[in-house]
Amino acid sequence: MNVMSNKIYFLYFSFILMILSVILLFIPGLPLGIDFTSGSTITYRWDNDPPSQEQISNSFSDAGFKGTIVQSMGNNEFYVRTSDLGINGKETVDLELKKITGKTPVTLDTNTVGSSVAQNTIRNSVIAVFISSLFVMLYIIYAFRNIDQAYLYAIAAIITLIHDVFVVMGLFIILSLFLGSTVNSIFIVGILTVIGYSVNDTIVIFDRLRENITLNKSMEYLSVVNKSVMESVTRSLGTSITTSMVILAMLLFGGQSLRDFLIVLLLGVVIGTYSSIFVASNIMLVWRYGLRKKSN
């Protein structure tokens, strides 16, 4: 198998994916959840046999209010945070809740509520990621100082990282249309995790490349890249399969509350592995050979 001979297609593919993701970020945009928007809070009490937190959350979902957070307060009382209920929302929800146990719960109080995450959290996260990318680039330049044009590896790693973040967000938006996922503060953590994974995965492949460049000085660059990617594929797959195994197990058999977060992680692992094999090294090749297709 010669992954690199078809380099152009993969780069085009990834480029299109990225553009689509950026478009999706504007239309329809990230489905912001109640951590970022103002909404309503309700305290309910059931006289006896209360439903589970998940059942209540599902009822809200059925009534059209996704991403509701339900906290048990003891005494059969539940504190619910959901998106803005508007005028008729509460009635619809109460009807859905009645379906669970056959009884309408007592509403102890309702309130409107501001966002729980400070307005600048997303902006701060973006800046923090930007600064850390700069430092990672400096480190790569230092670690690759013995080979030509070390800064290109640093730039390629960061482009790969940006690619991963955007594509994961784009895919998440598409999935959210079907699954009703929302973006809450956990989402930021998920994206940070994706970044960590992506950088590590790319660097391991570049490291192999660095080693092969010094060992096979006479070999053509294309062949060295090819050899390095092929040698790293088993390890990349090994790591992503094991990591995905844990995430999948939690996604399929774990509780509902972590679902959206785990989806981000799973997308991150898959995209991260894909990009480290097909995107990162291809960027290096394009730099060396230009965009024309190289027949091998």
Binding site: A118, A128, F135, V189, V204, T242, F253
Partner: protein, 619 residues
């Protein structure tokens, strides 16, 4: 011995880690970690464990509905307070349109602690325990250590509980008062009979005149009297002053006045109490000049006048100085050599420094005092020997222990609240993510992890087995470190934890793959292992280092811009990656070396993964 050094270190660390995880709580004098009801004794955040749900109504200083600016200001300051206090990822939200309430959910805190002590003699513990039952405090423990009563309660105490306990201890326990008079010498009597002490009836009459409710007054020898009374008071000298004034009417010199068994300290700390104090109080620091009384009333002794002129509100007069919380640029808890108790160091801004200099200059000449109040409660009333320049000072107070000093510092740094807060609801709430749901996820995660181990052993064989052992050791170290630091584990922390486990798995796979390649290139087993480790190291190092850089930047950024969700993630990731880099490589190498010494399992085929070895056979 040298060849076993590595494995000995690993085993010792492992035993220490297992001890750290299994002992609950770990207690070495003041240093305390973990408690019984948490998972593995770890501190879990609001999203994973639940906590306390507090709703305060916001009342503006004029007593009306707060403005939107006031409410937003309250939210910001409280956010800063809980973050700076290290309560990680609390939930602070405004309620109502327009906002007039504030909701704060903070992670479960450990139970409450009340430390109290009495001067000289202690009352019997039984009466205190009986009172605790009467006021409905259950599941507590009382220990007496060095004359201090330490009451620890597993559950949070309400303010009502605490108040009734305090009233009981200060008002209902009998206090013994010991009084000594020096004798008056009677002229014309012979030596030995010329000394006259006050008699018991004199004492009775002056005490009754001043309405002192005493009992069992006894005349001991040589001018010593004993009596018992209730309501001696705590943090309130009026009863004491009342008695002293009464006694001053006798024509004898009072030389000793001693109380025994009265409450002398009462400090509530821990958990939700300190969180509530931290959140709910306005934190308005106020400096006033206390002008001591100038004109001594005729009826008072000079000795008593000196005692009361600066401390009895009916004689002194206080004047505002204009120095307040907003004049501070920094506040930090600390200690000073002159005092045995904790203090809060404060730094004034330019206006504050100038003002403070002028005021200390003035009182150093007049002999007046500086009265320092926090939320209208008197802290200390120091005098000054000379003008204090430099804009630095420290404050302390009777009930300010180390923890309270830290709270006050946080409050002063975050600024005074623009409105008053009134606690209207206090409840316990379950984890944000739902405990049922989390338990299911945790189980699934553990099953997934075991699947990973099985996969690694069956695919990579011996290196996979070693990797699995390494991973388990790594996890043990990690949990122990988290507990000892302690790291509050929230979902963002858990995400970082999963990522760092992923890195540990990755490092082990890298090593196994490298050994495999060297074996395939025809080297013998021992050489392959040595070279495999060498070559794997550079990628493990670079990958982990880059992640470490990200973690450090995120942590720095998160702590400077109070984005706690980022901070929690970064801290866990940083610790996890650093540890993973060391353990997965070193521990793996140590175990591999030991195993390869054993000839019977050092078969090359046991080191080559499944698909490759079968391919070889088929060739």
């Amino acid at each position: 011995m040298l060849r076993f050094r590595g494995i000995i270190i690993v085993v010792v660390c492992l035993i220490l880690s297992i001890l750290a995880i299994s002992i609950n709580p770990i207690k070495i004098s003041d240093w305390e970690r973990g408690n019984n009801d948490n998972f593995l004794g770890m501190v879990l955040g609001l999203d994973l464990r639940g906590g306390t749900h507090l709703v305060y109504s916001i009342i503006s200083s004029s007593g009306e509905e707060p403005t939107i600016e006031d409410a937003e200001g309250v939210r910001k300051i409280i956010d800063r307070r809980v973050n700076e206090f290290g309560v990680s990822e609390a939930n602070v939200q405004l309620l109502g349109t327009p906002p007039n309430k504030i909701l704060i959910q903070i992670p479960s805190q450990e139970g409450d602690k009340i430390v109290f002590s009495f001067s000289e003699t202690n009352p019997d513990t039984e009466s205190i325990e009986k009172k605790l039952n009467d006021i409905g405090i259950e599941s507590y423990e009382i220990n007496v250590v060095e004359d201090e009563f330490i009451l620890t309660s597993d559950v949070s105490l309400t303010q009502g509980n605490i108040d009734s306990l305090k009233t009981f201890l200060s008002d209902e326990i009998e206090v013994l008062i010991k009084i000594n008079f020096s004798p008056n010498r009677i002229e014309g009597k012979k030596e030995g009979e010329d000394l006259e002490f006050p008699n018991i009836n004199d004492l009775k009459s002056v005490l009754e005149k001043s309405n002192v409710n005493y009992s069992d007054l006894q005349n001991k020898e040589f001018g010593e009297f004993h009596m018992y009374l209730n309501k001696y008071g705590y943090g309130d000298e009026s009863q004491r002053e009342n008695i002293m004034l009464a006694l001053s009417e006798l024509e004898y010199n009072l030389v000793n006045f001693q109380s025994e068994g009265n409450l002398s300290t009462f400090v509530v700390s821990g958990g939700i109490q300190s969180a509530k104090r931290l959140i709910g109080s306005t934190a308005q620091l106020d400096f006033r000049v206390r002008e001591c009384g100038k004109n001594k009333p005729e009826e008072l002794d000079l000795q008593i006048w000196e005692m009361v002129k600066c401390y009895d509100p009916q004689y002194y007069n206080e004047v505002a100085t204009g120095i307040e919380s907003k004049n501070l640029t920094d506040a930090s808890p600390g200690t000073v050599p002159e005092l045995s108790q904790p203090v809060v160091n404060i730094v004034f801004d330019d206006d504050g420094s100038e003002n403070f200099y002028e005021i200390t200059d003035r009182i150093s000449r007049t002999g007046d005092l500086l009265a320092i109040y926090l939320d209208n409660e008197e802290l200390v009333t120091p005098g000054a020997d000379k003008a204090i320049s430099g804009g630095r000072a420290y404050i302390y107070g009777k009930d300010i222990d180390g923890e309270r000093a830290r709270e006050i510092a946080v409050q002063l740094r975050s600024g005074a609240l623009p409105a008053k807060l009134d606690l209207i609801q206090e409840r316990n709430v379950d984890a944000v993510l739902g405990s049922e749901s989390l338990t299911k996820s945790l189980t699934a995660g553990i099953v997934g992890f075991i699947l990973v181990l099985i996969f690694m052993i069956s695919y990579y064989k011996i290196p996979g087995l070693i990797a699995s052992i390494t991973l388990v050791i790594y996890l043990t170290f990690l949990v122990a470190i988290f507990k000892i630091l302690p790291v509050t584990l929230t979902l963002s922390g858990a995400a970082a934890l999963i990522l760092s486990i992923g890195f540990a798995v990755d490092a082990n796979i890298l090593i196994s793959e490298r050994i495999k390649e060297e074996l395939k290139s025809g080297r013998n087993l021992l050489n392959s292992i040595t070279i495999g480790f060498d070559r794997a190291w550079s990628s493990i190092r670079d990958g982990n280092f880059s992640t470490l850089i990200i973690a450090v930047v995120l942590y720095w950024f998160g702590s400077n811009f109070s984005t706690s969700i980022m901070q929690g993630f970064a801290l866990t990731l940083g610790v996890g990656v650093l540890l993973s880099m060391i353990t997965s490589f070193q521990v793996n190498r140590i175990i591999t070396r030991i195993i390869t010494r054993n000839q019977s399992i050092s078969k090359t085929w046991l080191f080559i993964p499944v698909d490759q070895s079968s391919k070889k056979e088929s060739k």
